[in-house]
Amino acid sequence: MDPVHLHFDIDGSDFTAAGEASSEVKRVLRRLGFDGEIIRRCAICMYEGEINMVIHASGGRAEVYIDSSSIVMELVDMGPGIPDIDLAMQEGYSTASQDIRELGFGAGMGLPNMKKYSDEMKIESEVGKGTAIYMRINA
């Protein structure tokens, strides 16, 4: 298959719209004929990333690169950054507000989930500058 590149601008002001990019990635992967379990893992990683960008960083952008061997998702925001990445990776650790928790998120499972469902995950973050997340899922 020819490589596919998808670009998304994630709107940080609209919680309702969060997940639209993930939905589109899922649709494209299905159209390209990827295995259902691979598609679901990509959808979860992308969705957790999108939710995080909306909750914590006022949005950002996502680049998705698809070819027959892997799906790579790069999520970049200009939010507050993560002071302690090891701490943020711990299950149950969250800095989300009570408002976000009432919406069903902010349980401190987002980053651990992204790691769990991807084959490789890297985080680069600088306080005050933003965060970049790289995730690869082998097809």
């Binding site: 969060a18 997940g19 993930s22 959808a43 969705y47 998120f105």
Partner: protein, 116 residues
């Protein structure tokens, strides 16, 4: 179990997806925390929840779930119902509490996921 049986057992009202009531569902989970659904659910096709917002539909979509049951008489707004229609997800609501609704379905043979 067919989705129509889920409706009957829970004395639920269908909000959208009437054309999919003959679909077979094999297992279910109950959660108000969508983070947990994303973290722990695998191959569950019914989500029971008391949470009402568009991200419930989105979460079900990501997890390939076919049916959402709103418990405790919770009623989603038109935007949420519209979104479920687009995603081909059956929505229903029941006045039963979460524990009772899950218990009835489990007793009727709709299992959950074993601990991992």
């Amino acid at each position: 179990m067919r989705i129509s049986e889920v409706r009957d057992i829970l004395q639920a009202e269908i909000l959208c997806g009437e054309h999919m009531l003959d679909l077979e569902v094999k297992s279910a989970c109950g959660a108000d925390l969508m983070s947990d659904v994303l973290a722990f659910v695998k191959d569950q096709s019914v989500l029971l929840t008391g949470l009402i917002n568009p991200q419930v539909i989105r979460t079900a979509e990501m997890m390939d779930m076919r049916c959402i049951v709103f418990v405790r008489g919770k009623f989603p707004d038109a935007q949420i119902v519209e979104m479920a229609k687009e995603k081909d997800i059956v929505l229903m609501h029941t006045k039963l509490r979460m524990y009772t609704a899950c218990g009835r379905l489990y007793s009727a043979g709709l299992i959950g996921m074993e601990c991992v």
